[in-house]
């Protein structure tokens, strides 16, 4: 190693991917000063002041020398305060202020973390991505802020040293006081602690919507609910994560990475074990839904990755926001391009939408009279475009008669028992689609429908009669088959039967009543 020089390993972030960064510190005589180069953004450049104070407050000396800090590769932008810790360690090492204990190879350790002026280590966004990238590079030792430790504790084969302050890091490196490595957590254990958000047993009545929700969960279908205000659309939607199959480890990593980068993880929290439920307000912009900002941050569609995106008051969303959903719905991934950055985020989510039947909300209600003119209703419904509706397999109406009016509403089934059936149906689908790119019935395209959805002539005849008699469009035709496939899977039938088709037809009821021109 060259004297007066140190190189420390860390990682920068681009989208959900981490990239290796070498923090090079060169210390030389001359006017004392600190210069950070290698395309740092403002928060990185400011780290000079934080590092300076943190070193002094940790009882170390800041050598009165001229220091150049290069973040290599020099042609990629670096952002965020996670470079504080590697810079501080680099400065100390380059000036001989830090004497690693014998046998310690400081080159093989990854450092990251934000420093407070008092030398405390603060958590940073994207810790999970950094650790995953480090593991991919064959690195096994990481020193990071203690508050980020739980988030990464599930990653196999890594030695994670959670540190609370710069002093702790220095003491660990010098061998004065070792930090005990974070205990590795098993993902399966973590899952046992899944909290229950909203349980289906709390939803009374709504037999039709409950069944539709179960079908949606079993086949991964998107769903639109239409109904008067207060009829329970939001409550139904919130129940969905609880009946979907649990997040697999790989899915959890994907989702947690996105949340980690967006800074949506609470400090000290671990991997996400619950499927995300995102419910952006209807004033949301395209950038907030899809992702954007100068640094191409992930949007709501990516935060809902492997979970549920709930859009209440669908027609109130701006037209452009709704149209922007079409591509992620189709591809399960979005590419966000900005001047400074370009990032690809996964965005495979279930879309659950809620809307009123008319601007006042009471069209068709037996409780209150609707005061909207036919033109107003038409205009309201037309806010939701055909191409978007095309991507929503289940379109149902929520019962308008309040449960209080139904004397003997039966006790409602709990999420747990519904989830069991959903899991069974998903398993059948996984086996059927093994070796294809499809993972659930919702992903069937028109070509694969013929292959995977065999129907008898009798069943086909019923479908044709339904399309004809109930004024359904040809678009609805394929949606009905897909949903019928899911219904057949739920009852374990290999072939789609007449009853499956007949039931599936009911999940296109809005075509008959609202979008019929």
């Amino acid at each position: 190693m060259i004297e007066n020089m140190a190189a420390i390993r860390t990682f920068g972030l681009s989208g959900v991917a981490g990239f290796p960064v070498q923090v090079e510190v060169f210390s030389t005589g001359g006017l004392p000063g600190l210069e950070v180069i290698g395309l740092p953004d403002a928060s990185v450049r400011e780290s000079r002041e934080r590092v300076n104070a943190a070193i002094l407050n940790s009882g170390r000396k800041m050598p009165p020398r001229r220091m150049t800090i290069n973040l290599a590769p020099a042609d990629t932008r670096k952002e965020g305060p996670s470079f504080d810790l590697p810079i501080a360690i680099g400065i100390l090492a380059a000036n001989g202020e830090l004497l690693p204990r014998t046998g310690l190879n400081i080159d093989r350790i990854v450092f990251f973390g934000e420093l407070g002026l008092d030398g405390r280590l603060q958590p940073v966004n994207g810790a999970l991505s950094i650790v995953i990238s480090a593991s991919e590079q064959g690195l096994t030792e990481v020193i990071l802020p203690a508050d980020n430790a739980r988030e990464v504790s599930c990653i196999q084969g890594m030695k994670i040293y959670p540190a609370r302050s710069l002093t702790e890091v220095i003491d660990h490196l010098e061998g004065k006081a070792m930090i005990s490595p974070q205990e590795q957590q098993d993902y399966a254990d973590l899952q046992l602690q899944t909290p229950v958000l909203m349980d289906l047993s709390q939803v009374r009545g709504q037999q039709g919507a409950r069944r539709a929700l179960e079908v949606a969960a079993a086949g991964g279908h998107n769903m639109l609910m239409i109904g008067a205000p207060g009829s329970g659309k939001t409550m139904m939607a919130r129940c969905l994560p609880g009946i979907l199959p649990p997040l697999s480890f790989a899915e959890s990593l994907e989702t947690t990475r996105i949340h980690s980068i967006a800074g949506q993880l609470a400090p000290g929290s671990g991997l996400m074990i619950q499927r995300p439920f995102r419910a952006p307000h209807h004033s949301a912009s395209v950038a907030s839904l899809i992702g954007g900002g100068t640094n191409a941050r992930p949007g709501e569609v990516s935060l809902a990755h492997n979970g549920v995106l709930f859009l209440d008051e669908l027609p109130e969303f701006s037209r452009s926001a709704l149209e922007s959903l079409r591509q992620p719905l189709e591809d399960g991934v979005v590419t966000v391009s900005r001047i400074r950055n370009q990032a690809r985020y996964q965005s495979s989510f279930m879309l659950i939408a809620g809307m009123n039947p008319c601007p006042c909300g009471y069209f068709g209600s037996r409780q209150r009279d609707c005061r909207c003119s036919p033109t107003e209703i038409r205009r309201y419904l037309d806010q939701v475009s055909g191409p978007l509706l095309d991507r929503i397999d289940l379109q149902i109406e929520v019962d308008s008669v309040p449960v209080t009016e139904i004397s003997e509403a039966p006790a409602a089934e709990s999420s747990a028992s519904v989830a069991k059936r959903v899991r069974a149906a998903r398993k059948i689908q996984q086996e059927r689609y093994r070796g294809t790119s499809i993972h659930c019935n919702a992903r069937l395209d028109n070509a694969s429908i013929d292959e995977f959805c065999p129907m008898s002539t009798e069943t086909k005849a019923i479908l044709h009669m339904a399309v004809d008699k109930m004024h359904l469009s040809m678009r609805a035709y394929h949606r009905i088959i897909k949903v019928a496939r899911t219904i057949a899977d739920m009852s374990g039938n290999r072939n789609i039967g007449p009853a499956d088709i007949a039931e599936a037809v009911q999940y296109r009821e809005l075509d008959q009543k609202y979008w019929r021109k």
Partner: protein
């Protein structure tokens, strides 16, 4: 037939916002519209005799400009609009005795449609499903008996009344609250075309180019009630346009028939108020024809009103149960689920099969209803 110059001149007179009475006074002084227009331009003759506000005079002068007149002529030719004045023989006899009879009427279609018994049918735009089906049924039966239905071409009950009349193959008459060139209401453009194609008539007292302003409609309603031999109220709230039509009909001495509605719904509050006040209560077209003494005069009343349908023996057990349940009236999905003890999946499948057979209908609000045979 291309509209002639005289028609354009009358259209000019109707365009100034004069009341029917003012127009009639002017007509009485000088029945030639060509004289009236020069009198107006030069502030003399009949125009000085009849007291008119200066604003109306200004408007009429402006509208007398050659370019304006040419525009009107073009609109009239383009839309096939013609004029009947109160001085014409063709003028509807039913309107003549009214104190505020329109002096100038714009028409599209066939004036002969008014020959024969007529009934005006009114009701709200935002009508209940039951109200709409009843309107269609009653209108069709009356129409089959040769009775012409008069209404306002609005959405809801009006449209249902016209539809029923077309189906019963008698001509139907619409009275509009705007110029006949206006595409209003746009939703009913197709209906309007069918009315004209089937030999019906569209009438308005407003000159081409006049917009459908809110205050036109209550005033227009006097023509609807005036053209009908009687007035039939299908569904009216207490404060609604239909109630103004009732007021006009009473002033004109017409019989008012009121259809009963759901006693709990505000949509029929007006109906029940009218019944309490002594309007004629009726439930079928035959009731109306009997009271109006049309039964013997008119064409044979349609015999094809089917009775209660025989139960279809091919229905499955579950389908029969569901039909029996729906015989008690419309019900929501949850109500059916509980009453029948079906699972949601089973109920969905059963409903679909009955919908495919055309026995059950889904209504907004996740409500299901048996389709009565009369709706076919």
């Amino acid at each position: 037939m291309i509209c002639n110059d005289e028609e354009v001149l009358w259209a000019w007179l109707a365009s100034g916002g004069l009341t029917p009475l003012e127009i009639r006074s002017l007509m009485a002084m000088d029945p030639d519209p060509a004289h009236l227009i020069t009198d107006c331009q030069q502030d003399r003759g009949a125009f000085m005799e009849v007291p008119l506000s200066s604003r109306i005079r200004e408007t009429l002068k402006r509208n007398a400009a050659p370019r304006k007149m040419a525009d009107t002529a073009m609109l009239m030719a383009q839309h096939g609009i013609h004029i009947v004045t109160i001085m014409d023989e063709k003028y509807p006899e039913r309107l003549r005795p009214l104190p505020d009879a329109p002096a100038i009427l714009f028409i599209q279609g066939n004036m002969d449609s008014l020959a024969g018994p007529t009934a005006a049918m009114v009701g709200s735009r935002n009508a209940s499903y039951a109200g709409l089906t009843a309107t269609r049924r009653i209108s069709e039966t009356l129409s089959r008996a040769g009775i012409r239905i008069i209404s306002g071409l609005a959405y809801g009950i009006d449209a249902a009344a016209h539809e029923g009349c077309l189906k019963g193959e008698s001509p139907t008459i619409s009275v509009l609250g705007c110029g006949l060139d206006q595409d209003y209401p746009a939703e009913n453009a197709g209906l309007r075309k069918r009315i004209l194609d089937s030999g019906g008539l569209i009438i308005s007292e407003y000159a081409p180019g006049e917009k459908p302003l809110g205050w036109h409609f209550p005033f227009r309603n006097r023509i609807i009630s005036g053209l009908g031999d009687c007035l039939i109220v299908m569904e009216a709230r207490t404060r609604s346009g239909s109630m103004t039509t009732v007021q006009h009909a009473l002033n004109q001495g017409k019989d008012v028939f009121v259809y009963p509605g759901d006693p709990t719904s505000p949509r029929s509050e007006g109906n029940h108020q009218l019944i309490r006040e002594g309007a004629i209560y009726f439930t079928t077209a035959e009731d109306v024809m009997e009271d109006m003494q049309w039964l013997d005069k008119t064409r044979n009343v349609g015999q094809n009103i089917p009775g209660n349908q025989e139960e279809d023996p091919s229905l499955s057990q579950g389908e029969k149960q569901l039909m029996d349940q729906l015989n008690r009236g419309e019900q929501s999905f949850d109500q059916l689920c509980i009453a029948l003890g079906f699972s949601a999946a089973q109920l969905n499948a059963t409903l679909s099969m009955l919908q495919i057979r055309g026995l059950v209908q889904a209504l907004p609000g996740k409500i299901y209803q048996k389709i009565s045979p009369a709706d076919f």
